[in-house]
Subunit: 418 residues, 2 copies
C-alpha cells in the first residue's frame, strides 16, 4: 500500500525550504488561494470556540441549513438533510469512492488526489481525456468506450468525477459538454461526482456555470468547500450535497457510516464559521467577488507571459490556474538539457530558477507531455498586508511585488525557451 | 461495503431526540468528556484564526514540538519528527491500519471503532479477551494462539491494538500485563498500536501508568488526543508518536501519504490551540487535574449504585466509564421481559427509563453477555455553568443535578432488578 505525500503538498514543502534558505522562488506549484482570512470569519470561528461536544456526523443543523441555502441561491433546491459536511471536501470524496466501490472514471488531466484516493482503495482509476477548453469533463464517447471495455474485462465501474470549473486547466466546461457527459453517465448508470470547489471563482464575462445537477439530478453528488473561494484551506471544511433520490439516501447513510469511523465530524468551531460563510452575508459576497477579480487579473497576466514564451495556453476562465503546453520547447530542452519529460522540465525549472510548477504527469497525463499546471495565487504577496493590498488594488499586477514576480517569470521563460 | 453510524454516535443522537421531546433521560451511552472548554484554549483557538494556509500534513512545527514535549515529560524522549497530527486520533488509527495492512488483533471488549475501521478496510479483526481488571490488553497466551492459528489459515496479521487506560472498562492494565503483551507482540512480530487517549485521566492513588513503549519501543505507535483530558472532542485533534526505528520511519512516510490524500492536515486554528495545550501551562495542568477528580468521584458513585443493584463491577481506575456485569439479572429479565441479550437489555433501559448505555456486543463481546458500557461524564450538568460548578465542587455528587441523576439511576436499577 505505498502512498507518497500528495504531489502538490510535497512541492509546497520544497518551495518553503528554498525560501528559508534565501533562494529566489516563484511558488506556482501549490493550489492555495493565497489570501488572508476575512475578519468576520475569524470572529465567527472564535465565537464557535464552545462547540467542543461531538456533534452529528453530518454537521450541525446550522451548517447544513446554510449550505442548503447556498445551493438554493444557485438554483438548486436542497433540503438540509441532503447535506453532509466533513473536514474538507477531500475526505468526503474519499468516503464517496469508498461507499460506491468499484472503479471510477476521472478526467485526464485532473486533480492529483482523485486517482490517488481511488488507488488507495484498491481501485484502478480510468482516465478519460477532456476536450480542449472543456477541462474537468471527460469526452462522452471516449468515456463510453472506456467504461464498456472495462466492464467487458470484468471490472465494476460505478462513478465518474467531473471538476467544474477545472483544476488543473482553469477552464469551465460548456453547457453542451456537461449535458452530453450526463447523458453518457445515465446510459452507463454511473454516479456523477461533481467537484464544484471553484464554482464561485468563475471570472466575470464567462458563460454561465452549469452543474450536472441540471441534467442528471438523480445521480449527481456535488461537493464544495471554503478552501478556494474564501481561502480557508487550512481550516478544513467541505460539504457534499446528495441527490434527492433513493440513490442519494443510500449514499448518505453510507457516507455517515464511513465518516463516523474515520473523522467523526468537521471541527465544531470551523462548522460555526462555515455556517456563517455559507449564509453569504454581504461582506462574504464582496470578499469572494474581490478574490475572483484578483485571480482573473493575475492569471491573465501569467497567461500572457507564457504565451509570450511560445507556450500554447487555453485562457483560464476560473480559479487560479493555467495549463500551458510547452511542446514548442521540446527540441531545445532535449538539446540543451536532455529533458524530454514534463517532470524533467518542472525539476529543471525548480532547481535552476526556483520556479515551482507541477508536470502534467501528476494529473494523469503521459510522462512525455510538456504541459505544466501553473498556480498563480501565491504571487499575491508574502505577508497578509501585501495580500490584502492585492485584493483591494484596482490594478494588482502593477503592485511592485506582483510585477516583479511577473518580470522574473518572463526572464525565466525566455532563458529556458532560448 | 455496509457501514452503519458508529454505535456511540447513534445512541447519542437518540438520547438528544428524547431530551428534545421532554422525556427523562440518563445519558450514559456516549463517551464524551462533558465539560466546557478552558477559556485559555478558546483564546488560543481564536488567536490561530489566521492559520488558513494548508500546512504540513504532519502538523505545524509548534504542535509537533509541543506534543514531543508532552511525551518527554512522561519519560518518553520524542523528536518532533516522530509526531504526526490529524483531525482526531480516530483518523490516525484508520490510517495506521491502512498503512499496516493485514489483520489486526483487538482487545475484547474494546472501543467500537477499532473493529469497525478494520472491517471498512476489508479486514477481519481478531478479538482476543482481556483478563479481568486488565482492560484494553489482550491476554498474551490467547493472543499468541489466535495469531498463530490465523496465520496457519493463511491470514496476514500485522498489529495489535491496546487501550491504556481502557474504554469500555475504565480499568488500567498492570505493568506485568503490558510487559507480557509486549513480549508476545515481539515474538509474533506485531506492531503495537497503543491508544493512550485516557492516559491523563488515571485517578489519584492508582498504580503508575505503563506504556508499551517501556518494553517494545521499537514497535509501538502511541496515539492520543485532546478529546478526553480537555473535553475537546468536537474540535478534532489527535497526535500519533511513531517509534524511533526503521519501522517508525517507514510508517511515518505511509501515514503522511495517506493523510495527504484523506484529510490534508488538522485544522490550523485547532493546531494552534493544541500546541498551547500540549505545552501544559499551569492552568491546563490544573484543568486536567480537576477533571480527573470529578471523573473519579462520579464514576465511583455510579459504580456504587450498580453494585447496590446486584451488578459485578471491576472498579474503574481511569476515565469516565464502568462496565458492569448484570448476569445476576438474567433470570428476572428473561421471565419479566423475554430479554436474553445485552442489546435487548440496553434497548429496554432506553425505552422504559430513558437510560442510555451500550451493550457489550458493541465492544466485540457476545450477544448474550449482559454487560453494559456505562459512561458517567454526561451527568455533570446540562449547561456550561452546571458543568463548571461540578468541576469546582469539593463534593460534586452532592450537587442537586448529579445527586438527582444518581437517585434516578438507583430507582431504575432497582426497578429492573426487582
Amino acid at each position: 500500500m505505498p502512498v507518497t505525500v500528495s504531489a502538490t503538498l510535497a512541492a509546497n514543502e520544497e518551495i518553503a525550504e528554498r525560501r528559508r534558505a534565501g533562494a529566489p522562488v516563484l511558488p506556482m506549484a501549490f493550489g492555495e488561494a493565497g489570501l488572508p482570512v476575512l475578519p468576520e470569519l475569524r470572529e465567527a470561528l472564535a465565537a464557535g470556540g464552545d462547540r467542543n461536544a461531538y456533534g452529528p456526523v453530518a454537521g450541525g443543523p446550522d451548517l447544513r441549513a446554510a449550505a442548503a441555502g447556498y445551493w438554493e441561491r444557485r438554483g438548486l433546491p436542497t433540503d438540509p438533510g441532503q447535506v453532509v459536511s466533513g473536514p474538507g471536501s477531500k475526505p468526503l470524496l474519499f468516503a464517496l469512492l469508498l461507499a460506491l466501490g468499484g472503479d471510477v472514471v476521472v478526467p485526464r488531466p485532473s486533480w492529483v488526489s482523485y486517482a490517488a484516493q481511488a488507488r488507495m482503495l484498491g481501485g484502478r482509476p480510468i482516465g478519460v481525456p477532456t476536450p480542449p477548453g472543456q477541462g474537468g469533463v471527460p469526452e462522452p464517447e471516449l468515456l463510453t468506450r472506456a467504461v464498456v471495455e472495462a466492464r467487458r474485462a470484468g471490472r465494476t465501474v460505478r462513478s465518474v468525477i467531473v471538476t467544474l470549473p477545472d483544476n488543473p486547466t482553469g477552464t469551465l466546461a460548456s453547457r453542451g459538454a456537461v449535458r452530453r457527459l450526463c447523458g453518457a453517465a445515465r446510459d452507463l448508470d454511473l454516479v456523477v461526482i461533481s467537484d464544484e470547489i471553484y464554482r464561485d471563482l468563475v471570472y466575470e464575462g464567462q458563460p454561465p456555470f452549469v452543474s450536472p445537477t441540471a441534467f442528471a439530478p438523480e445521480r449527481t453528488v456535488v461537493t464544495t468547500a471554503l478552501s478556494k473561494n474564501l481561502a480557508l484551506g487550512g481550516w478544513r471544511l467541505g460539504v457534499a450535497r446528495l441527490p434527492d433520490s433513493e440513490l442519494g439516501e443510500a449514499l448518505r447513510a453510507e457516507l455517515l457510516g464511513i465518516g463516523s469511523e474515520i473523522w467523526s465530524s468537521a471541527s465544531g468551531p470551523v462548522q460555526q464559521a462555515a455556517a456563517y460563510a455559507f449564509a453569504e452575508p454581504p461582506e462574504v459576497v464582496a470578499r469572494v467577488a474581490a478574490s475572483r477579480r484578483l485571480h482573473a487579473r493575475v492569471a491573465a497576466a501569467v497567461t500572457d507571459r507564457f504565451v509570450g514564451s511560445g507556450a500554447i495556453v487555453v485562457p483560464p476562465q476560473a480559479a487560479f490556474y493555467l495549463y500551458p503546453d510547452l511542446e514548442a520547447w521540446r527540441a531545445r530542452l532535449g538539446a540543451d538539457h536532455g529533458i524530454d519529460t514534463g517532470a524533467g522540465l518542472s525539476r529543471h525549472l525548480l532547481r535552476a530558477y526556483g520556479l515551482g510548477v507541477l508536470p502534467a504527469v501528476e494529473f494523469g497525463e503521459g510522462e512525455r507531455a510538456l504541459r505544466l499546471r501553473v498556480a498563480t495565487s501565491l504571487l499575491y504577496g508574502e505577508t497578509a498586508e501585501q495580500r490584502e493590498e492585492a485584493l483591494a488594488a484596482d490594478d494588482p499586477v502593477a503592485l511592485p511585488w506582483i510585477a516583479g514576480s511577473l518580470d522574473r517569470l518572463s526572464e525565466v521563460l525566455a532563458d529556458v525557451a532560448g
